[in-house]
Assembly symmetry: C2
Homo-oligomer: 333 residues x 2
C-alpha cells in the first residue's frame, strides 16, 4: 500500500460537508414525526426548518461521514485531505475550523452563492441510536471541477462516501476521482453509508463495487440492502469476490474482513458505556485506513478500526475526543 | 414573592445573547495565549478570529449567563422570558432555537445589520475549569428601546447579569428595566457574573447593589472583588446589610444565603463527576429563583440552586440535560 512513491496524503476523502445538530429525543417523537429510527433521510429546506422548530435544544458539531473518517485517521497520526463543499457562511466557517483543527487539509473553496452549508438534524434516542435528517444545501454544488488531479494522484487512497450519490453533480466528481486515482496507480475506497442510501442507488452501487472500488466499508445492513440478502453468510459470500478488501462491521458483534482467501473475524473492542453510536462506522474506516496506509496486516487494521469506533461511541459526537494514537499505543500493543 | 397579581412570567431576564464555542485545551495553551484561567475576557473581532484559528475542534452550544439561568428555571417548570440581542444570522437562529426549545419566551427582534451574533470561545482545561473569551458582536446593539414596560411589569422578578455593564448601551437598558420593575412592585435580581467584570465596574456595581438590587447572586471571588476584601466572613458582613436577599456560592463548599437576620449555610449537592464547571452559577440562580417564585423558604431555594448547579457541572455545556423538576422530585423530597 505504501509502495507508491510521492504520497503527500495517506487518504484524500470526498464527502458531504455537514454540520451536525444533535438533540435528545424520545421514541415517541420519532413516531410522531414519521422518522425511521437509525437511518439517514434527505430533507429539503422547508422540512429542515419545520423539524428544527420541533427539535429540542441542540448542540452543533461538525460532521459529514468522510470528514469524520479523516478526523479519526488524523487522530492516529495519518495525513488526510478533504474535498467537499460548504457555503461561505457561519456554519461553513465552523466546518472548516473543526476539520483543520484536527489536522486535516481542506482546500475546496466555499460556494459564494446558492443554498447555505448543509446540516444534519440528529435525534439521539435513549437507546443511543441516532436518526438523521439531512438538508444537503451547499453540498449540491460539489462537482467534477472540484476534483484536482494532482491532489488525487498524491494520495495513497481516495476515499468516497455513498452519500455522495445523493446530490446530483457529486456522482460525477466521485467517478472522476476514482478514475484519476486508478490512473495514478492508487487505491479507491468506498463506504456504503446507509441502508436507505444503498436502496436509492442499488444498481449503480453494485456496478461501482464490482468495477471501481478496491476497499469496501459497510455494515451488515448496508450489504444486506446491496445484495438483497437476509443472512450474514450470504452477504459474506457475495462480497468475497467483488473487491480486493472488504471490511464489514456488525456493531457489538465486531467486524469481518475479507481479502481473497484471507478472512479475519475480529471482536468489538470493549469500552465503557455506549452513549451515542453516531459516527461509529466512520471512525472504524478511519482507523482501518490508517493501518492500511502503514502496511499493517488486515487483522490489525480491523482492530484499529474497532478501537476508533469504541472511542467515538463512548461520547456524543462523531469525532474522537481522545488521541487515537495514544489509545492505540495503550490498548493494541 | 408570588403575591403580586397578573404575573405572566416568573422571571424576565436580560442578558447577552451568546453562542458558546467549546473546546478542550491544556494549561500550556492558556499560558501561550496569555489567557487568565477561570475568567471571562472581552475580545474584539480580530482577536476572536485569531484565537479561533488556534483553537482545537469545537462544539457550538447556546450560552449567555442570563439565558442559561432561564433555561434552568424552565427545566424546573418555571416561566421565563429573555431579552437580548442577536443578529439575523445562523448563530442567531441557533440561539433562538435553543432558548425557545427549552420553553423560554424570546421576543427581542434580531439586528438586521451590524456585527454578527456574539460568541464566547471557551477553553476547558483537564481540571474542568473554563476560560472564556467573549466577542460581544450584536450584543452591543441592545439598548433601552428593547425594554418593554408591560413585559417587565408582568414578571415577578427581573433578572440582570453584570456582564450587561460591558456593552455600552446595555447599561441603560439594565437601569430602565430595574426602574420599571420597582415601579410595578416587582423585585430586581442581579448576578455579579465574574470577578473581572466586577473589577471593571466596581463603583457602579456597589451603588447598584446598594440601591437597585433586591436579590444578589455572586460567588465568593466576585464579592471579594466588589468589596476588596480577602476573607469570606468580611464579605458576608458587607453583603448582609446591602440587599434583601443575597445568595453567595462557594463551589464545593456550597452556598450561603443571607436575608436580614436569616442566614443559611447549605452544603453543595453531591453528584457524579465534575466534567465542566461552565454555567454552574447560572444554573444555581435559575434553581434559586424558581424556588423563590414558588414561595419556598430560602434554604429550599438554595438547595434547588445547588441541585441545578450539580447537574450542569456533571456534563459539558451550561444548560441542564436532565429535567430538573424530576431531579428535584427524586432528590429534594
Amino acid at each position: 500500500m505504501t509502495k507508491a512513491s510521492n504520497s503527500e496524503w495517506d487518504v484524500a476523502g470526498i464527502g458531504n460537508a455537514i454540520v451536525d445538530v444533535l438533540a435528545h429525543a424520545e421514541d415517541r417523537f420519532l413516531a410522531q414525526n414519521g422518522l425511521a429510527k437509525g437511518t439517514m433521510t434527505l430533507i429539503d429546506a422547508a422540512r429542515a426548518a419545520e423539524l428544527y422548530e420541533t427539535m429540542g435544544p441542540a448542540i452543533e458539531v461538525s460532521g459529514g461521514s468522510t470528514a469524520n473518517t479523516l478526523a479519526a485517521l488524523a487522530s492516529f497520526g495519518g495525513k488526510g485531505a478533504f474535498i467537499g463543499k460548504v457555503r461561505n457562511d457561519q456554519l461553513g466557517g465552523i466546518f472548516r475550523h473543526d476539520i483543520e483543527a484536527v489536522g486535516v487539509t481542506f482546500r475546496t473553496p466555499p460556494a459564494t452563492e446558492g443554498p447555505p452549508t448543509a446540516r444534519c438534524l440528529i435525534f439521539v434516542t435513549p437507546d443511543a441510536q441516532r436518526t438523521m435528517q439531512t438538508y444537503l444545501g451547499a453540498c449540491a454544488d460539489l462537482g467534477p471541477a472540484d476534483i484536482d488531479e494532482a491532489f488525487i494522484a498524491a494520495a495513497k487512497i481516495t476515499y468516497l462516501e455513498g452519500y455522495l450519490w445523493d446530490p446530483p453533480q457529486a456522482k460525477e466528481a466521485f467517478l472522476k476521482a476514482a478514475r484519476l486515482a486508478h490512473a495514478a496507480g492508487r487505491k479507491v475506497a468506498l463506504s456504503l453509508s446507509d441502508p436507505f442510501c444503498v436502496e436509492r442507488h442499488r444498481d449503480e452501487f453494485r456496478e461501482l463495487v464490482q468495477h471501481h472500488v478496491d476497499i469496501l466499508f459497510a455494515n451488515e445492513h448496508e450489504v444486506m440492502s446491496l445484495y438483497e440478502t437476509k443472512s450474514f453468510d450470504e452477504i459474506f459470500q457475495h462480497v468475497r469476490g467483488s473487491c480486493e478488501i472488504a471490511a464489514l462491521t456488525r456493531s457489538e458483534k465486531g467486524s469481518v474482513v475479507v481479502s481473497g482467501e484471507e478472512v479475519h473475524i475480529i471482536d468489538a473492542m470493549p469500552f465503557a458505556a455506549v452513549v451515542d453510536t453516531t459516527g461509529a462506522g466512520d471512525a472504524y474506516a478511519g482507523g482501518f485506513l490508517y493501518g492500511l496506509t502503514r502496511d499493517y496486516d488486515l487483522a490489525q487494521c480491523a482492530r484499529m478500526g474497532s478501537l476508533a469506533a469504541a472511542e467515538v461511541i463512548s461520547h456524543y459526537g462523531a469525532r474522537p475526543e481522545m488521541p487515537l494514537a495514544q489509545l492505540a499505543a495503550e490498548r493494541l500493543s
